[in-house]
Symmetry: D2
Subunit: 375 residues, 4 copies
Amino acid sequence: MNTITKEIMHVGEMASGAALTVPVYRLCGDKNAPSVYIQANMHGAEVQGNAVIFQLLELLKDTQINGNITLVPYANPVGCNHKNGEYTLGRFDPITGMNWNRMYHFDEGIIKPFIRESIGKDDVVIEENFKKLMIDTIEQKLDHNIFGLTTGQRIAYQLQRLAHQADIVLDLHTGPISSKHLYCPEYAKSSAEYFDIEHTIFIQNGFDGAMDEATFCPWWSLQEAYQDLGRHFTMGEGAFNKESFTVELGSQEQIDLDVAKQDALSILSYLHSQGVIDNNEYQPQEMTRYACYLKDYKALYSPMGGMVDYLGEFGKPLAAGEPLARILRMDNYGDGEALHYVSLEQEVIPILHFASASVNQGTELYKVFCNYFEI
Amino acid sequence: MNTITKEIMHVGEMASGAALTVPVYRLCGDKNAPSVYIQANMHGAEVQGNAVIFQLLELLKDTQINGNITLVPYANPVGCNHKNGEYTLGRFDPITGMNWNRMYHFDEGIIKPFIRESIGKDDVVIEENFKKLMIDTIEQKLDHNIFGLTTGQRIAYQLQRLAHQADIVLDLHTGPISSKHLYCPEYAKSSAEYFDIEHTIFIQNGFDGAMDEATFCPWWSLQEAYQDLGRHFTMGEGAFNKESFTVELGSQEQIDLDVAKQDALSILSYLHSQGVIDNNEYQPQEMTRYACYLKDYKALYSPMGGMVDYLGEFGKPLAAGEPLARILRMDNYGDGEALHYVSLEQEVIPILHFASASVNQGTELYKVFCNYFEI
Amino acid sequence: MNTITKEIMHVGEMASGAALTVPVYRLCGDKNAPSVYIQANMHGAEVQGNAVIFQLLELLKDTQINGNITLVPYANPVGCNHKNGEYTLGRFDPITGMNWNRMYHFDEGIIKPFIRESIGKDDVVIEENFKKLMIDTIEQKLDHNIFGLTTGQRIAYQLQRLAHQADIVLDLHTGPISSKHLYCPEYAKSSAEYFDIEHTIFIQNGFDGAMDEATFCPWWSLQEAYQDLGRHFTMGEGAFNKESFTVELGSQEQIDLDVAKQDALSILSYLHSQGVIDNNEYQPQEMTRYACYLKDYKALYSPMGGMVDYLGEFGKPLAAGEPLARILRMDNYGDGEALHYVSLEQEVIPILHFASASVNQGTELYKVFCNYFEI
Amino acid sequence: MNTITKEIMHVGEMASGAALTVPVYRLCGDKNAPSVYIQANMHGAEVQGNAVIFQLLELLKDTQINGNITLVPYANPVGCNHKNGEYTLGRFDPITGMNWNRMYHFDEGIIKPFIRESIGKDDVVIEENFKKLMIDTIEQKLDHNIFGLTTGQRIAYQLQRLAHQADIVLDLHTGPISSKHLYCPEYAKSSAEYFDIEHTIFIQNGFDGAMDEATFCPWWSLQEAYQDLGRHFTMGEGAFNKESFTVELGSQEQIDLDVAKQDALSILSYLHSQGVIDNNEYQPQEMTRYACYLKDYKALYSPMGGMVDYLGEFGKPLAAGEPLARILRMDNYGDGEALHYVSLEQEVIPILHFASASVNQGTELYKVFCNYFEI
């Protein structure tokens, strides 16, 4: 039985002085396999990942572990505990509106000087040095800022400091009301088939402040910069064997421990494929997997205010012209149209929809796969 | 085909001067049957009643109508449009915290003087005069208050003015995540079986500010006062043929037009039983109906903070000791209990649970029927 | 120099498991003078009382203390840390809308049995026994409730358990934008002049869930019940030497340590008058003090939505017909009245006004003294 | 007396179907002077600009007007009416957290093709064509988007469509608790002295979604692109006589009609300097004006959670090491430091501070001018 160590990380303080803390669980691998960092609940309402970490810990206790694994539930103690009415404020700092998952750090400016200083170094040294540079950069930001950090940066940078120590990073999220889906960097396409998740979004090298990007963009940018200079590294292999995913586990505001067990098995299947664990029983399920590129993962904004009966079934192709939703407008009853149907002029796969029937004109109704393909 | 008239009622103003309006739909009955008032969406997130009113209007268009019917969707335009994060702030004025359904008016002090002035009057006159007194009282409050009314009172009193003109009042609500249930005054027990709702709460004569109470308590108190004087009226019959229900349609934040059709049929079955409509096809479904008294309709508050996997199935008796919920406490993993089971020491029927997995110590987890019985 | 002891009281848990704690400071008196309980910040935005407790502790360190003094800042750790936008959600549980200062407990039903059991007992025993009964009742509610307590009850009851051990209770609040004022039970009128507060509201014996009421109503009801039986006790004297005040320190969302020092001196002047401390320099300031009865402390609700330029000066009599506010309605510019003046037909003293210029129709604009008098 | 026309612009719909509307006021100039667009209250709590528009209209009624003037109060009807507790949610869409003033549109990609197509055209034609292109681009976004627009984009683009028709754009904002200050593009430095505002921030050509940027960045980028090609235009002159400012009027949540009159006079002084109006009495006040560059306008984030007594006086240079704030931490009283002083190691001018005493670690405490200079 493996030893699980636990540490309490201090990530902030509230007005009363109450400490904001995050528990950090660690298991040590006894071979030189890739190391793993898994966090959950950065968005307050997206709680299912905590249950998945529970099930992962239960399963990992008795699994042969080759690489170090760090697991962080309740990653954002502000968001996690912030109620507005009955629900948990999901996505942003209630004071500033800043999305909690857009505050990680990457400054592309570190790449060129690093390359200059690394001339003549071999692959392993480059990997070690770049990893150290990333961690040093974050520590510099955490500790040496006269004007301080925002609440969200302080939390994000401390998580990022942990994540930068790993080769593989999984950030567990959920949609609002949603099917499972996976954000996967294009270079790691082949890994997507190890998750028991039917829908994958392939993303390119572009940094917009999210955890997955903050962990793969630096390496990817470094690899591209070397490429321009004629030195070839392959992302996901050798010195650049770094992978990072945002795993969307389903709907927010829900804990289901049985489903969490399935999701834990899906993650173990992926970790097994990377050699992090040994147990051969962790294999992916057979399923048809669809993907689309990020540019084709479209949000549909409501053409009107109203109350929505969501009709589009998740995960199933919906023919052009078929209704995604019907919108009730009782104020128009009798002297206008009380029911409006919303459809698209192309075939799509609905992936998630808004969490409430009540929408303003311009509220995000659905997110859908366009131009999708089987993988 | 019946004529549906529509009127826009002005119930308030926002800071920008934007008018708060409520649409009022009316159908005229052509016989002297009881008149009906139905409203929906007094609590912002409880939107399904709007869809039920839509289906009622669609069905009533071609039904023989004997009594006047007034229908008011979107009864509370402040609550209906108030978003906090993705959800709609449900139950209270966001400025004051006052529950929107606790602001109706009834002053028991009107009873005694009314009785004194009605000595020697016959039943019909008493009914007419008391109805007029109730309406006059509300109009007095709406129009002649030097220090003004709260936002919620202004909305509630205008709805109440409409409701007081009817013999039958239905206030359409929903629970958070909930099965259907019905709040029914004890004297109207026999009416509960006409609704296609399996669970009914019987309430006594006590005014706490809700719409249903505001419409039956005055009559009930009058009847009791007469009783004390030896003059016998029966609630729900003759001059006191007044019934008022809060109909809980299921879960909040959802519109389902197909389910709404079923709920509309359930209401029509009740209206048919009261002679308001003629169509014999509107009959209640056969089902086992359970009830309990209001004092036995218990809220269970969470014994701890944590993340809840709700296990108690709605509408099914749950044996003493069986788990209602298991609560995840990942912060305790490794050095405490990460999973806690919550159960009760008596048999109950779970009716609804909290809308989010994330709860504080003391958040209302479940509402359950204790000491329930078949009706 | 007096010893200040500190204890951390656990009052609840958040969803992440984070403990809700409250610091409790105590100083021991060395004579048999009345004991004192002072708390602050039960409403989240009303923070100035914390600074007053800081200054009280600083001053009490070197003061001769005759009775025990307990001081509790940050009394409500949920409210204190709850941000919605830049502000702190003031008055109510964000989940339920329940006013945090309406959740204390008093059940009038304890009075009659207590009197029956106390026949023949002398005053001191009655006082001791009733105090014990009050504390036991609260402990019973805290510890022996199968269905649990709400979040707010759990906090309130724990504070109340501390308060019931004292003879004098001060609950430090603030208004929204406000002058200083004092809620004082009628029987303690003569104590009002020891506070450096110009405006006092006299309240009668009626329990509505607030801390001040929860501490004086039980004694007052007991005294009245004895009175009905012909045994005479005087409130504020002898065995019934119990006093309880809500001290409104000014405006919310503000800390001013210099003003807090003045408020601390005002409280010490009152405590000196009660023999709790010895230092003769703590004397009330000379000022004209006005009072009115609670029924004459009126809220004025806005007659329209709009944006308010508040004109009524706090603490100064405002003649009938003089404007309290002018309300801007730019939407009416050009084709209606863009400026509206609000006045009353009687002389009043404005005490506080709403915290924002933006009001809905029915938002509480001002609270004013009517029928005030000098004390 | 000038004619003021009024139009109601429909900018969205709420869930109940309620229309979101904005009033648009226009005055026609009778000479060929620059045209002006002024809006207020894009952030919900920043209401004083509405009062300034009221006073501007009152003053402009009887002023000789040479260029067309369009004024839009209540520019954002969602934000304006959105209450959370007593306050108005200021800065962002309550559903998404998106800052309402970061949703305007500018795609730099339009510049190069425009220049290609404009070869050989003269200045006036270039100005007309580019203006038309900007308006057409916005109309295209408003009307031809299959996947729709967000709520905020729909509002912002409609305001932007009005703004693009003007040569001068003023966006009236406020800080939280704040002194007056002005955001001014560097090329328009000389205009800053016509406003009665002591502190100005000079900004460079960079688009981050705000209204001022959305109106000056396109012209500035066009000018720079021509510069690269050797054709010289001067920003603020001739065909490129375009100026755009964000005017910060003081603190949020307040209406003061008397101060608004002063602010209106300040704006008229600027408009007079641009030839928009004729009245010579509109001249700037004499005052010492300070400025700094945007990079030197620094936010100071709180180094700890706590309750803040703000000490830094607005508008006055504060020496290095002098305290900006003292932070109360009552939880540390007795066994730690209960008072902490916050200072900076350089001289600054405090401009604004946070709206509440209660701050988390990382909440923005102050914004200050560093490296400021007299203008």
